[in-house]
């Protein structure tokens, strides 16, 4: 077979809507056989729990006592009677917006900064990416030590440099706790989002910039009218991931603040955890879970619409 005919056949095969495999019974059965383990996982460990949590949300289900029968809509009523519900929703939203803006802007700046493949840029890129190799819980434990009044080096350093007079209590006040956690997340995730944007940047062909230059566009103009629109898919992906991740924040708050000081840093998922494992009420936890799932689906749909519009 010559190279030419192989590639011609491949091109022809690629153009046809169906693969060349005939939809024979045997092929289909084989396909099912190969997909079966995945299907088993999906059914047993995904669909079944979804059904279970739906059932929980309309039942009087205690962690210790088990399913005691239906009680709709009591659980949902209880959710809305929970005094921390709206504060935690507000806090989670506030946190999501703050983290989203800071991380995406920073990631964009860095992605633009390190575009050239120089040795120094490689080092910089790696430095920014290393934190993303760590787990979120590990990072939280690290920063817990970093922020602690006992061994944290930040206050000694800042005081030594004369930047502050009094030591800062990083986790002691509601505002400080929020911003300290934000800083942790920015540290941990900026590299990840920088990568996403870098991939998008690299996909932009050089001719586009060349054309803009020939049209007399300056740097800022080029960035605004040329680069940004072409980066839309990457920015959309980054935004959806960041918003979803922040709305579901748990690990970092559980480890750093445990929701404190005084329940001012309680996120939605923390509420679900408390309902299940401190109040032992799986029914309410299930109801909250379904509400969060529904809210997430709606929010993601809105984001997809907004970010894909005007195409």
């Amino acid at each position: 077979m010559t190279t030419h005919s192989v590639s011609a056949r491949a091109a022809a095969a690629a153009r046809r809507p169906r693969r060349r495999m005939p939809m024979s019974r045997r092929r289909a059965l084989l396909g099912w056989a190969y997909a079966a383990p995945a299907a088993a996982f999906v059914v047993l460990l995904f669909l079944l729990p979804l059904l279970t949590v739906s059932r929980m949300s309309v039942s009087d289900w205690s962690l210790l006592g088990g399913d005691k029968g239906l009680n709709a809509p009591d659980n949902f009523v209880d959710v809305f009677r929970e005094p921390l519900l709206w504060p935690s929703v507000a806090f989670t939203l506030e946190y999501t917006v703050i983290v989203g803006v800071i991380v995406l802007v920073l990631a964009m700046l860095l992605a633009l900064l390190v575009q050239e493949s120089t040795r120094w840029n490689s080092v910089l890129r790696t430095a920014v990416l290393v934190p993303s190799a760590l787990g979120l819980a590990s990072s939280s434990l690290l920063f817990w030590g970093l922020y602690s009044p006992n061994i944290g080096p930040l206050n000694p350093i800042l005081q030594g440099l004369g930047i502050i007079d009094e030591p800062i209590s990083f986790l002691g006040t509601p505002d400080a706790a929020l911003w300290s956690t934000v800083f942790l997340i920015v540290w941990r995730f900026t590299g990840f989002y920088m990568l996403i944007l870098m991939v998008g940047l690299q996909a932009i062909p050089g001719d586009v910039y060349e054309a803009a230059r020939l049209d007399g566009a300056g740097r800022i103009r080029t960035y605004w009218s040329v680069t940004l629109p072409l980066l839309r898919p990457s920015i959309a992906l980054a935004t959806v991931l960041s918003v979803t991740g922040s709305l579901l924040a748990f690990d970092q708050f559980f480890i750093l603040t445990k929701g404190g000081p005084d329940n001012t840093t309680v996120t939605i998922v923390q509420l679900i955890y408390r309902a299940a494992f401190q109040h032992f009420d799986l029914g309410v936890a299930g109801a909250m879970s379904l509400l969060v799932l529904a809210a997430l689906l709606v929010i993601n749909l809105i984001q997809f619409r907004l970010l894909r519009a005007k195409d």
Partner: protein, 276 residues
């Protein structure tokens, strides 16, 4: 090629700015390593620099060795199950046509849409009902499920990138589809396999909320959960030195793996980001 760069940045300010950024990003890790060996009155490392904290960590509660072993077991199981399931499923999606194929694929991706807490609570009950509560194997099953969207997606596009000719000529020669898969396709998609194995390992090693909910027995706790718990141990006085030693033990494999396998780590990302 013209690149969009920030206006007005000349050489020196650029180096100063980026050096500052690099320092800020590297500082916490460097500090953690330092704090784990630095002297601190009242801790296991009271005088001079040394590994006193690590030694204490070895014997804390069930002992560091036990926790590391738990993490290794869970991560190992997750990696094995993820690679096997994703390899087979990726092959199925890329090369076969069968009823329900698209539905199954969408369901797999749907796993990404559901918050983990929403699944972990019913999973806690379900696993309990089959005797898998509080077990490392049960935990590994759940962690594998979470890896399926990314890993099956990766394997599917890896297989799709291999020209059909490759296995067709083998099939014509009389090999079974499994033979074609094993001897011909698997070597071709090896980079994809390494990528999903790496991600599965890192996710399993670092997961916190799943072990928190599914594991009750502290001697079965994987490392992150164990280190988080040991902060509360010693009668009110928190042993920071030991905690920092724990952080280093947690972080070191991840940082090493990342630096060594950077290529696969970034490549895995890029496939997802490009098709996303």
């Amino acid at each position: 090629m013209l690149r969009t760069t920030l206006r007005g940045l000349t050489r020196t300010p650029y180096y100063v700015l980026t050096a500052g950024i690099a320092i800020i990003f590297l500082f916490p890790l460097v500090w953690a390593a330092y704090a784990s060996v630095a002297p601190r009155g009242g801790s296991a490392q009271a005088e001079g620099f040394g590994i006193g904290n690590y030694v204490k960590l070895l014997n804390y509660d069930a002992g560091l060795g036990t926790y590391v072993l738990n993490s290794v077991i869970v991560s190992g199981l997750t990696v094995i199950m993820t690679t096997v399931v994703a390899l087979l499923a990726g092959y199925a999606f890329a090369r076969f046509a069968f009823i329900g194929k698209n539905v199954l694929f969408i369901l797999v991706l749907g796993i990404l849409m559901v918050p983990s807490a929403s699944l972990l609570i019913p999973l806690y009950v379900l696993l309990g009902s089959v005797g898998l509560s509080n077990s490392l194997f049960g935990l590994a099953l759940v962690l594998t499920m979470y890896q399926l969207p990314f890993s099956i997606f990766m394997m599917r596009i890896s297989f799709e990138a291999v020209p059909a000719e490759l296995e067709e000529s083998a099939l014509v020669d009389g090999t079974t589809s499994f033979g074609a898969l094993w001897y011909i396709l698997t070597p071709a998609v090896l980079p994809g396999i390494v990528t999903i194995a790496l991600y599965a390992f890192l996710a399993a090693w670092n997961d916190f909320i799943a072990p928190l909910i599914l594991i009750n027995d502290s001697s079965l706790a994987p490392l992150p959960l164990a280190i988080a718990n040991l902060r509360q141990q010693a009668m009110g006085a928190i042993d920071y030195g030991v905690t920092e030693a724990g952080v280093v033990v947690l972080a070191l494999p991840c940082v090493v793996l990342f630096l060594v396998l950077q290529r696969f780590y970034i490549k895995g990302f890029m496939s997802g980001a490009l098709k996303g």
